[in-house]
Every structure is written in C-alpha cells, then in structure tokens.
Subunit: 224 residues, 2 copies
DNA sequence: TATATTTAATGTCTATAGGTCAATTATGTC
DNA sequence: GACATAATTGACCTATAGACATTAAATATA
C-alpha cells in the first residue's frame, strides 16, 4: 500500500428489546455503499476526541444520539479488500446500552434503526460490517459465559430473571437459574434496588450493576 | 484531529530462554525517540501486505529476521499524546516464538535484542511501548490460565515439564503438575513426539502442539 | 550389583463451583 | 381458599482443579 489507509472507528451497539438482541445500524448517505445499512461510526481524521475511544463515543453521541456507558474495543480490521476505494482500517468497538434510553434518540436521527441480530444475518451490509458484527457477537457470547456485562444492555434497575433472560438470548440456550444466581451472589456483583411486582407471580428483587461487575470474570464458564 | 493520524503496526514478541520470559526490542535509528528501545514494527503506509496481520508478519521478517508462527492481535491504541508529532494509532500484535530460531536471526539485524520482561519494567522505552507491553503481558497471563498457547514459545518438541515451566514463569507462581497434565491430556492438545533423556532423572515424553491447541480454551481457569 | 538421587508421571483424596430439579415463597385471579 | 404464575432457595450430584504421596526410569556412586 502506498498512501496511508483510511482509518475509521465503527461500533457494534447491542441492546435488548422484546426478548431479542438488537443492534443499531445507520443507512449510509454517501458512496461507497450509498443507501446501505452500516455500523455507526466514521473517519478518524477530522473527528473530535483525544483517544480512539473518545472518538467512538463522540460519533455515537453525534450521529446516533446515543450516550454510551459500557463500551470496549473488540478488534481492528484492515486490508485492501474491505473498501472499494482501497486500503482501509477500522477500529471496532462494542457497546451495550439499555434500549429505552437509546430508542427515543435513535428516532431523531435520520436513518438509524434497530435490527434483531437473527434477521440481520441475511442482510447485505456495507463494507465488511457483516463480518465485523459476527466477530463482535461471538465475543459477546464468549463473555456472557464468564461475566455479566450483558446487564449493561438492560435499563437499571432490573430483576435477576431479566438478567438471566438476556444471557439466554445471547447464548441461544437456557441457563440454570440456580447456578446463575449463585455465582452472581457469591461474587457480590449486584446492588439491591428495591423490588417490583410484575404482571403475575411473586414480586422480584431489583438490582443494579456494581462497579466491580464491569471487569469481573468468573473462573469457570457456564455450559457453553 | 485534522489530518489522518500516523498508523503503525507494532508487535510484542515473547520467547522463553534460561527460565525467563523475554521480549524482542529494536533500537530506533530515527526521531522521535532516536536511539531508544522500542517494539519492532513500523508505519502501515508503504508497507507490504494485504492485511494488517500480513504487514505485521512482514515487518517482523524484514526488520527482525523473525518468521512468526503464532501471532494474534492484542488491541489498538490511539491518541494525541503517544507521539510527540501528534495523533497516532498503533495496532498491536503479540507473537510467541521459540527462542532458538529467533536468536540467530536477531543477530544479523542491527540493534535488535532480547530483554527479560522483569528487567524491562524499569526501562524507558519509546512512545507508550512500555504500556503496550504491560497490556500484552497481562493478556498473555490471562490466556495462560485457560489455554496452552504459551507452548508456541518453546522449540518443538518439548516436554510437559518444560511446558509447565513456561506457564509458571508467565504466571509467576507454581502450578500443580497433576492438574496441568490432566487437563491437557483430557483435551487432547498435544501430539507425542518420542522421548528425551535430560541430564538426570527419568526420561521425559516429548510432544508437539496439535492444531487444536491454537484455539482451545479450558472451561475452567487454573488458580490465578 | 545395590543404593541414593533426580526428574517424570500417576494415583487418590479433597475442595470448589456449576448442574439438576424439587420445594418453597409471594402475589394475583377465580 | 384453591389455583396459576414467577421468583427464589434447598439439597444433592457431577466435573474439574488442588494437594500431595507414590511409583517409574534413568544416572551416579558405593
């Protein structure tokens, strides 16, 4: 490659709604891939922020109206095939946000929409964004076996059943409630936040993520 | 940031020699940080290769005479502080290579040398390479709790005792031989490769990494 | 040749943490 | 008050790592 490659920051933003894992995409308004759905993000050159993560956050705020709490770097993809214009590099971030907070804002941004990850698999997205999403998804699945960061995709406070449910959706398989609760309690990852009465059944205790939950990893994986 | 940032690929190359974890550094011959030790790597612009990883491998081959087998992306650092010239981004790779193969080659490359990771902690390195190394090290330590990729830093074939030893050095604590062997055997990660008689004691069986060992992760961590 | 020494390899028991699933608790409904 | 529905917990089972003693296979030495 001769010149410096294009450098972009793209984010895979996960959320949880109607028992489904969803992901925020924006419709491109310029070539290449004009009019196709793509990951929110953009060029690093000219962006605002002192670090890559700050730039990623800023772009999400500006372009998608999303103020992200939990965000982490997934990986960086770069080659001479992913952009028809030539060499390009994308630093990929993954974020988890409560659907509610995001929903309203996503409305006032033109051409931003949430897609269920299942439906999404068959869509043709811009660049190699489909591949990127698969990597981010796999990472999220792995992580859900030994952490509870998925909880950042729920509006706080939430019940343990809700927290378990999002894990089950991400993993695509049921989890033993007892195992799930036991390890969380032992690791002291959640903070009590009252209780709530759902439509039916026994009222459930409410919790918020404790700061420790952001980094905590269990020494054993759940059945995967 | 206005213009596109500098984009580089840097590699943290680990190896194992004299019971110590070592790491390959090269002395810079240009500003900034002229004459200071730094991670092998360089600018992506103008480099040879169709992917970031290919470029990383090529730079190691050309500049350090090292042909890497095991290499993986660690993370990407980017901000306006790490390079005095302004915004710069570095995609960081981590590689594990047998010391023997590496040693000779490192000789015919000017100003490349191996450093024990312990000694290295007090050195002043170029850019934020000291920080990068710490991240790569931490990643390697984590990984050594649930995989045996550290074996790629040994010349094949190797004994189980040697494989255990490098893990102990990386983790900085002893490992139960029984636990270590049991899980490896059960996961069928190694291929028998004869046996060897060391200076003293019972001869040891020799093994090589099976392909599966590259990606395999145990469901449970060793004591960390 | 027998014994001590050294390192490799294994047997066995214990401890820990998740898996299973039944039982209990707390509400709302009929 | 009996039933339905969820949440939560109790009790036992299982899998896998930790501890540590024991056995195995070689060399060195008396």
């Amino acid at each position: 490659m001769e010149k410096a490659p294009f450098l972009t920051v793209d984010s895979v933003i996960f959320s949880f709604d109607e028992s489904a894992l969803k992901l925020l995409l924006v419709k491109r308004a310029i070539d290449p891939f004009n009019d196709q759905w793509s990951l929110p993000g953009g060029m690093v050159a000219g962006a605002k922020g002192n670090t890559l993560e700050a730039i990623a956050r800023d772009k999400l705020m500006i372009k998608s109206g999303v103020d992200v709490d939990y965000i982490e770097q997934v990986f960086t993809t770069g080659n001479d095939q992913r952009d028809p214009r030539g060499w390009s590099v994308s630093v990929v971030y993954s974020a988890l946000i409560p659907y509610q907070a995001a929903h309203h804002n996503a409305d006032w941004v033109a051409d931003a929409a949430w897609f269920k990850v299942d439906e999404l698999a068959s869509m043709r997205l811009a660049f190699d964004h489909q591949d990127i999403i698969q990597v981010a998804l796999e990472r999220l699945r792995q992580k859900s076996l030994y952490s509870i960061v998925a909880g950042y995709a729920l509006p706080a406070p939430f019940t343990l059943s809700q927290l378990q449910h999002i894990h089950e959706v991400i993993l695509g398989k049921p989890i033993q409630a007892k195992s799930f609760r036991r390890r969380i309690e032992q690791a002291d990852l959640l903070e009590p936040a009252g209780e709530i009465q759902l439509d039916r059944g026994r009222p459930a205790a409410l919790f918020r993520m404790k700061p420790a939950a952001r980094k905590y990893t269990f020494v054993r994986n759940l059945d995967g």
